[in-house]
């Protein structure tokens, strides 16, 4: 038996060696190819799929340039831009004064390049009775004061909250424009029982699977799904409920905080004015080809947003 075992070990070791050698050969092959210019992009998870599409189309036209996109949240992207590991940071909100100060101190001059618009949508399970919520109700739900769907006209069931990590730009915007919309009151935080998921796609998936769940995130992840319902939002009890989906370019309506409180602009931040390949890439994004992709990915293209 022991003899057998040692034989197996020899075989495994042999296999391992073969795998190692083939891997070494493979990596050499890669090293020998022509050096490409690499643009590294990091940041908002909301913009991740969009950026990947841009990168893919851009690389088809410019085979010399290679673009690597990764997510992690807006703040992660900003941190990477500040320590110089990426040339472009995807940020799903505009930087605060403090953040710009910190950047300047580190010798980085963040330049905002607006690339698309987005609406943060509130989504529930497709079987939920609720169709719309007011801003005040949303605020109470996400700060933990309303815990049952009954209180907003739904079933007598516990509300299950889904949200994003603290590094997310969506998290910040939602907190600023819903939880703390009234500037005079004291700071309101998310309910501690909110489930924190990694990325908007995970939230869409969770809401689709959870009959009494509610989640928020960039429109692109919810608009085309058949298993979630995107809620309309009322600014207050008097105004009409407005669905964010109406703001797609098909309707051509300008998106405005007075109609829908959770709209935002998406930015690619660069260190200084974009130059060389990065400039080419940004130019591509704001070109009609790039904006067509924006529309395909269910975001709001710049040209249609008016104002």
């Amino acid at each position: 038996m022991y003899k057998n075992k040692s034989k197996i070990n020899t075989y495994t070791f042999g296999l391992f060696l073969i795998a190692l050698i083939s891997f070494a050969i493979y990596s050499c092959r890669v090293d020998n190819t022509v050096q490409k210019d690499v643009i590294r992009i990091k940041g908002s998870d909301t913009m991740l799929n969009l950026s990947l599409m841009w990168a893919e189309k851009f690389m088809q036209e410019n085979s010399r340039t290679s673009i690597q996109v990764s997510g992690g949240g807006s703040e992660t992207g900003l941190a990477a831009l500040l320590n110089g590991s990426v040339k472009v940071a995807n940020i799903s909100r505009s930087l605060t004064g403090n953040e710009i100060q910190t950047a300047l101190k580190k010798g980085v001059e963040p330049v905002a390049n607006m690339v698309a618009e987005d609406a943060i949508v509130i989504a529930v399970h497709i079987a939920n009775k609720i169709d719309s919520l007011t801003v005040a109700e949303l605020k109470k739900i996400y700060s933990g004061h309303i815990k049952n769907w009954k209180e907003v006209g739904g079933d007598n069931k516990r509300i299950i909250l889904y949200g994003r990590e603290k590094s997310s730009g969506t998290y910040e915007i939602f907190r600023n424009s819903i939880l703390n919309e009234a500037a005079d009151s004291s700071f309101i935080d998310y309910y501690a029982g909110m489930k924190v998921l990694q990325g908007t796609a995970a939230i869409a998936e969770a809401v689709a699977n959870d009959k009494f769940g509610i989640g928020f995130g960039g429109m692109g992840y919810f608009a085309s799904r058949k298993d979630v319902k995107v809620l309309s939002i009322k600014i207050n009890n008097i105004t009409k409920a407005v669905s964010p989906l109406k703001f797609t370019s098909l309707y051509g309506h300008p998106i405005h905080p007075n109609n829908y409180p959770l709209s935002r602009k998406l930015y690619c931040y660069t260190n200084g004015k974009p130059q060389g390949d990065v400039k080419k890439f940004i130019d591509f994004i704001v070109s009609s080809n790039g904006q067509k992709i924006v529309e395909q990915m269910e975001f709001i293209p710049l040209t249609f947003s008016g104002e």
Binding site: M1, G72, G73, E75, T76, A79, T102, R158, I160, E165, K166, S167, F187, D189, Y190, A192, G193, M194, K195, V196, L197, Q198, A206, N209, D210, F212, G213
Partner: protein, 321 residues
Amino acid sequence: MLPESNNELLKTSTVLNKKNFIEKSFEYFLKINGIIAGALILFIFLFMINEAVQVLNYITPENLLYIKLDNKSAGDIFSFDWSPTSNPPKYSILPLLLGSFLTAIPACLISAFLGLILGVYLSEIASAFSRNLIKPVIEVFTGIPTVVVGFITLVVAANFIQDVFGTVSRLNALLAAFGLSTIVIPIIASLTDDALRSIPEDIRMASYALGASKWQTISTVLIPTAINGISASVLIGFSRAIGETMIVLMVSGNAAVISVDLFGSVRTISATIAAELGQVSINSQHYYALFFIGFLLFVFTLLINLLAELMLDKMKRKVNI
């Protein structure tokens, strides 16, 4: 004749010398590497302590447990929240500690039960053929990337658990515990098997000679003899469960609440570090707080592993009498 043999002797001695030289240089090579590896671990430990204690420059020890909030209408409120980006930032480690234990302890209980059964089966009951089949499979199981386990738990087990237990939240501590047990069961089973097999054959034979049945031998002779080894396996499984990150990050729901509800969402120490360390600016309050909870986790697993090591040692001495 004589000079020739002398010459040969000289030759052998040079060969020996050469051999000796190679031998010695290898010895030194390995020694130096060993020292470097040991030193690295020591430095990691020192670095962690150094970063962790600096948290006290920013946060008072009591604020690591709770924070007192002034509330005009209702007097003082004690908040036990982990919410570093809030205003004021809150750094209570209590919900995270609770979360870690609420996932690791159930996982450990489930795994101890199933892992022990599997270990006893492998060591005492299984035929050589099935043992040779099952043991490698178990060992492969310990090597599955935990992100894969997490994904499968999320996609397959989540709805199942919700249907069976009727839980309100789909992502909960129990689900995380089930996910964790898929990696802890193999550890416990494998180590239990090792512990039982380290018992000399004479003891089994003596038990059978006294007329004991197989079940009696296992339950009254073998398990008590191997109890230290078995406990060590459970402890090692527990330290693996509490340090595990990816599975709990994916399926526990990550809500930092004070609760002992097994069916509610929890946020563990490990998941908090994984989710938040990537975004903090270095040398900030939040950064040191994360290092502090990392240090807690480190000390905790270190102590458990030390205890397990002691138990294994005791077991070895017991068996070798």
